[in-house]
Amino acid sequence: MRNLHRIVSAAAVTLAGFAAGLQSGPVDAGTLERLKSYGKITLCADRDLLPHSSSAMDPPGFDVEVAHEVARHLELELGFQWVAAFKGHRAIRNLYSGDCDIFMGLPNDKDFLKEAFRLDVTEPYYTGGFAVLLSKDAPSTNLEDYKTKGVAVDIMTVPDFRLFERGFERKLYYGTAKVVEAMKSGEVQAALVPALEAGWLAHTHGELGLRVLDRTEKQYIYPMGFGLRKKEQDLKQAINEALAKIEASGRLKELREKYGVVDLKPEDGSTPEKKAAVEGGSGEKAAPTQVAEAKVDAAAPAAGSAASSLESDFPSDPASIKKGYSLYKQACYKCHGPNGVSGGTRPDVRMFAGDHYEMFAIVQAGIVDRGMPAWNDYLTETEMKQIVVYIKSLPKPE
């Protein structure tokens, strides 16, 4: 699930800007023919991200096995391009640049596709999203009961943003495996994490007695399909046909069971809404969902009503800016320079291209291997926001 949540989260915060400058090309009807001439279809997958994929092939992973079945139906061999899926849109870029033909585990979600508009996603091969994970001793199965105690989330994912908006105390971790570790040590009892990974970790850590609830809020549910280049509609159609056959034969169900895939259902018992792709999707009319709104709030404050939400998320009154300036001196000055003026060897924060939310995400999680600390461990959320507000208040250099 990591590729999903990274991509969904990346989509929420960065993909829009990155995709904006790209053109979607004309439809190319000869994709299948081209692939057949090579005899091979190439999957971009993470080298080490079970239950999705593993280059060690022991086991190969849910995505890889489903891709194998599809390739067999297309009479093609399956090739691999190993990528770092946690790098979000950078991983998808491999697809754009032609390093591979398919990238699995992307949400068939119109807002996601609107942002990644050179992409298209096939019919789902499972219903994924974010599930409630509970430790053995968790006293309640209702997430609301953990509102003040804290719910563990994977940093910068949809639940991170959503629970923040809903006023939950969040405990932030980098990756679902870290959440499970925290459950093991008793740090947390409840989490809202990618369902596929949660199911897998609960399955492989049977001794912990973790529970994954298959009921979750509607907005956390995504139908997951194969991502491919939008112009390659003939390939999309062929994969859809193959998936229908594999589903009908019962093979897909077998694989879902093998990898402990939790089939998420909405809490109210209704059938999950299909979020149709912009074109060539299931044909059902997509109702605007709360996720879509959440993403607009979190990602695209430029438009319309978002302005008021920006001010409520990042109050920019003089007192907040002043506090932000003090905090800047405690945390940021020593690399990014006095008053936001870089001496040249570290990024000039005044030139940061993204919005408040993107800057906040970086302040929070850091880019640790490049020397940018994860301030989440040292500063409160309010403090990190004050820093962002201070930096955003600085005049841009000439």
């Binding site: 405690q330 020593k334 001496g343």
Partner: protein
């Protein structure tokens, strides 16, 4: 086919033989004994100690390269060191083997005759370590003792590495780097004791110097630079401020065998906001003399009581024997951030003379060497003051050099001012403890300033368009003063008049020390270039545009010789 095979075989055999011969001729490690260290003055071939000698003079008596022929000096080889961090090191050379500590990433042993690498030791520093240090992933270098190389890591471990193969012999964790205790200095090693002082004055540490057994890493003594409750001097820290009082001794010490004293400069008190720590704040911003065997403080001199400017006294102490006011004196000289060069009596710490070597506007020193500061030059809470030199100092940490033959000291100098104000702050683990903010009104410039210590007068100053804040200087017996610049120039000046006789542009800016040694009967000069460190991080508008726009990071070792 047969003949071709035979030819191939004989070529292979020849290569093998040549390889073996090469091995036999390759440089071999010679134990770095106390005797060799203590007589380093007389051995011009090596550069065994950070400051070349225990007296930290950075003076090489070699004179093959001199004012007559330096114009013909050429790079003999260059090696890319594979780092984009600032290269603040001074390499050391023992019998033709150079030990190069590449930032906090690796240590290379290089055969200086061939440029071949003999071994490499990879240093593993946690990815988050730079959060807890002011100035990047830097080191000033590795130190040698016996058959080992000693290295202090940013995350406060001491590594003892086998000098013959680069393998780790042992390591010792000395402090919690997440509380701001970091190590950036090249250790001082005297008589089997490895001494290090922690950096972290911007993170509210309590300054500490440790002496560790060179064989086991076990602590022999520990000296706190800041008194704790019940200790003398504690009353100079109002508002319980000694708890996070700073006073980091963050540069390599000098050692005097005759008095058995080590000389350390201590850094700024924390936070920078002086109102939060009423009193003199002993022994921050002081020169302290510690007994090498016990760590006991023999004497101290505090240059800047109740510091409001970040004017550390961390600077190296040079031990010199010369005539002061006409009298033969065993002295110690120290150039200060505040722009003054101080001369002290080595045994007692008595201040003998001072002279301003850098532009300054804050006031002056009186006859007792005490600062008399103009009221408008002292920043306070919500009180801005513009003063020169800035917090980078008239002399930053770039080391000066002294030629005992002519009593001249050559001081890398920064000409830059700052506008600073103070504010209330609270200590918070993992963040800086400053309580100050400011701005540098205009880009800094630099000089190499020559002072004749015997008459206490500035002799000349050579000007550079950027500060000489970080590149250490070296004087030679050939009448030359070398220094590296942010532009990347290694420059050779005439000691007599400061005339520029030669320069060579390195691939990146120079922020470390230049050295000289003898190998294969020839004098060599070496420097590691690689822009970075505190200046580009902290100077902001003080960085000259030609440096900000034109200088890229990237580490290279360049070794020079005459043809």
């Amino acid at each position: 086919m047969k003949s071709r095979w035979a030819l191939f075989a004989s070529a292979a055999t020849t290569a093998l033989l040549v390889g073996m011969a090469g091995q036999a001729l390759a440089a071999e490690w010679t134990a770095v004994t106390d005797e060799r260290l203590q007589s380093a003055e007389k051995n011009a071939d090596d550069w065994l100690i950070y400051g070349r000698t225990y007296s930290s003079l950075r003076y090489s008596p070699l004179k093959e390269i001199n004012t007559e022929n330096v114009s013909k000096l050429k790079p003999k080889f260059q090696i890319a060191l594979g780092s984009i961090e600032g290269q603040e090191l001074t390499p050391v050379v023992n019998n033709g083997i150079m030990i190069v500590a590449v930032s906090q990433e690796r240590i290379d042993a290089i055969d200086v005759k061939t440029g071949e690498r003999l071994w490499r030791h990879e240093i593993k520093v946690p990815a988050d370590a730079t959060q807890f240090t002011c100035c990047g992933k830097i080191t000033r270098g590795a130190s040698l003792y016996g058959d080992k190389v000693y290295f202090a890591t940013l995350d406060s471990r001491l590594l003892a590495i086998d000098a013959k193969d680069g393998k780790l012999v042992w390591e010792k964790t000395l402090a919690d780097y997440k509380a701001g205790y970091t190590l950036t200095m090249a250790p001082t090693i005297v008589k089997g004791k490895v001494m290090v002082g922690f950096s972290g004055g911007e993170f509210g540490i309590v300054g500490q110097i440790l002496a560790l057994d060179s064989e086991t890493g076990n602590e022999v003594w520990k000296h706190r630079t800041i008194p704790q409750p019940g200790e003398p001097g504690y009353d100079t820290w109002g508002k319980d401020s000694a708890k996070y009082g700073g006073g980091a001794a963050w540069l390599t010490a000098s050692y005097d065998a005759e008095t058995n004293l080590t000389f350390w400069g201590t850094g700024n008190p924390a936070p920078w906001n002086a109102d939060m720590r009423p009193g003199d704040n002993l022994y921050s911003n002081s020169l302290i003399a510690l007994d090498a065997d016990t760590g006991k403080q023999k004497w101290y001199f505090q240059h800047v009581p109740n510091d409001a400017w970040d004017w550390d006294s961390m600077n190296e102490a040079l031990l010199i024997d010369t005539k002061i006011k006409g009298k033969d004196t065993k002295a110690v000289i120290q150039a200060h951030k505040n722009g003054y060069l101080y001369t002290f009596d080595r045994a007692t710490g008595k201040c003998l003379q001072t002279v301003a070597f850098s532009p300054l506007d804050w006031g002056k020193l009186d006859e007792n060497c005490k600062m008399i500061v103009k009221p408008d030059k002292r920043p306070g809470v919500d009180k801005k003051a513009t003063f020169c030199p800035s917090y980078f100092g008239g002399k930053g940490w770039a080391h000066m050099t002294y030629n005992p033959e002519n009593s001249m000291v050559f001081i890398p100098t920064t000409d830059m001012c700052v506008t600073l104000h103070h504010e209330e702050t609270t200590y918070k683990k993992g963040t800086m403890y400053l309580g100050a903010g400011g701005e540098i009104p205009e880009p800094g410039k630099g000089m190499l300033t020559a002072v004749d210590v015997s008459n206490n007068k500035v002799a000349w100053a050579w000007n550079n368009p950027s500060p000489l804040q970080s590149g250490s200087a070296m004087a030679t017996g050939g009448g030359l003063a070398f220094v590296g610049t942010f532009e990347g120039d290694l420059v050779a000046l005439d000691q007599k008049d400061g005339k520029e006789l030669w320069k060579h542009r390195n691939p990146s800016g120079i922020v470390g020390g230049v050295i000289s040694f003898n190998a294969g009967g020839k004098q060599h000069i070496a420097v590691v270039s690689g822009y970075g460190g505190a200046f580009p991080l902290w100077a902001g508008t003080g960085v000259p545009p030609h440096i900000k726009n034109n200088v890229n990071p990237g580490a290279t070792l360049t070794v020079y010789a005459l043809d």
